[in-house]
Subunit: 337 residues, 2 copies
């Protein structure tokens, strides 16, 4: 299959380099990476398995390269290319056929080298959670907005690591929104805090969520004691669902079957109907990639897949709870990263 | 003209709200904003001039709405829609015609209310530059990476404002790369520092660059004294080019004519050939938008346009200098924001 890629992570996966203006064409053993003069020096240094072409008009260079090699048909991912990219490429007279998830399909089983990077990303992320918890212990009275900002310093080690997404730091009822934005609400002893964050290590993402009872001893351990009994029951239910899913995960099982393990526990509790999103998602170069662990996905889980397990309970106007870890399937079972 | 938009800033401009999963269709007086259940509550609160439709499949909802209103032809911006968006929309049987820059064309002349927001963004940004300079005075020995990270705290007022782009903080020869990434290089007295940064105020961007001589009295004033005479000559040339372009800018002149004013000064100096990018770009909801001030653009500049004036001199392996301000054309002339 001959194909063209533009997405930075898709291209990086193939040639070990990417930038914000590029095309990669793979046609059997022939591969070409096309970029503009800002990036050619670094591209030529980094890329060993593709020809590097410098061009002010990368689409025109792609058309010329295809013509030279007599390439008449290419696949593209319609989620990757913009209409203007396709418009420019089609001037070549070649046929462009849409095919979804070209790169995600290739990346779904991680190599040991990739798993090692993801594990290191998860380790550094977990350490940042611990350091941030120590900081939080002395942070009563600060706003969500300020604490959200301070979190980025711990996560990035003051700029050393990129974040894999804008972290979520949410207090009490704000945690009931799965995609909460920080407000001016001030943190007070007795509050519930939800913290969802990840970093990138050598471009590989991590993702972790903890929900905690806030006072001057706050930690992001899974063991938590909330003053409010309803919150404690919800927390215990989420924890049970999360740990049951980790224990039940098997290579050979369908993604939807794994989702069901956690979902059933919440549905059979007093909190039925409050787990409003899917159980998890693959993590790699992208923070959200295949496999998607939801109630509809029939995909068979396999050794080497890396994904999150993150059930939650959300009571609008009251509170939200989510516990999230990343796992890799190895020897048929889930190992927490 | 009936058209469809997906880009967040394009949609925000029309209805005063946007989110990361949306379509807006404008068909004469009929307007519909389509999003998924995560965002409908906020969308309905914020949007007064369009119908709000909630849908898990926003493309399907768009097809149904078009069918209901009998809409047979829509324009789209091929830089805005992905191939997969168009693929989904075309299932409606309607004709979709590409038209570039639909939103940028509408946004090129700013209203007084927009100019006021951009001016406030520029003011807050300039204040952050001053505060950051005070911090730099005590920062000898810190790395580019660390100083880049610290800059984000000053720019964002600890998370209160979003940044309009990842700032550039570059020392000496690293400043010779127009898109420098921070390294572990440590700041030393006598170094040249280049700082290019901007924030967003009520979604409107600012953009500013200063180049400075670093010692314990460093400031981002335009008046600078470098120890190295060649650097001083280059700095004075860039400053002369920048100030000449600001003074020469007129409504009614072509963008390429304004570029030429600054370019000629550098080309006639000993630094000919070192000004490797265009003179400036429009700034608004996007950090880069129309008008583009370069050597090829025949566009006539008009009152109400806001853009940067940012000539530079780059000597690879030695140093880079850039001075950038934002201006608005008013009463035929450029006012610095």
């Amino acid at each position: 299959m001959h194909y063209i890629l533009k997405d930075e992570n898709a291209v990086y996966y193939e040639v070990g380099f990417s930038c914000d203006n590029e095309l990669l064409i793979v046609a059997g053993d022939e591969r070409v990476f096309i970029t503009d003069p800002r990036y050619t020096t670094e591209a030529k240094e980094a890329i060993k398995n593709a020809e590097v072409i410098e061009a002010r008009d990368i689409h025109k260079a792609a058309r010329e390269w295809m013509k030279r090699l007599g390439i008449k048909k290419l696949f593209y991912d319609p989620n990757d290319l913009r209409c203007s990219d396709l418009e420019q490429l089609q001037k070549s007279g070649a046929t462009f056929r849409p095919k979804r998830n070209i790169s995600w399909q290739k990346r779904i089983i991680k190599s040991e080298a990739e798993i090692a990077k993801i594990a290191q990303s998860a380790k550094l992320n977990a350490e940042a959670f611990e350091e941030y918890a120590m900081f939080l212990q002395k942070s009563a009275g600060k706003s969500e907005r300020e604490l959200h900002f301070e979190a980025t310093a711990f996560l990035s080690s003051k700029g050393r690591y990129d974040l894999s997404f804008d972290p979520i730091f949410a207090i009490n009822e704000n945690a009931a929104k799965p995609h909460a934005l920080p407000t001016d609400k001030a943190l007070q002893p007795g509050d519930l805090v939800l913290f969802d964050a990840g970093i990138k290590y050598e471009r590989y993402c991590s993702d972790r969520t903890r929900t905690a009872f806030f006072d001057e001893t706050v930690s992001f351990d899974k063991e938590q004691r909330f003053a409010n009994p309803k919150i404690q029951r919800a927390y215990d239910t989420v924890r049970k669902a999360q740990e049951a899913a980790i224990a039940a995960a098997r290579s050979g099982m369908k993604a939807c079957e794994l989702d069901k393990v956690a979902r059933d526990i919440i549905e059979k509790s007093e909190f039925a109907g409050t787990f409003v999103h899917s159980l998890g998602h693959g993590v790699g170069l992208d923070i959200h990639e295949m496999p998607f662990i939801n109630s509809r996905n029939q995909q068979i889980l396999e050794d080497g897949m890396v994904f999150t397990i993150e059930p939650g309970i959300y009571i609008p106007g009251e509170f939200g709870i989510r516990i999230e870890d990343m796992v890799v399937l190895r020897n048929g079972r889930a190992e927490v990263l």
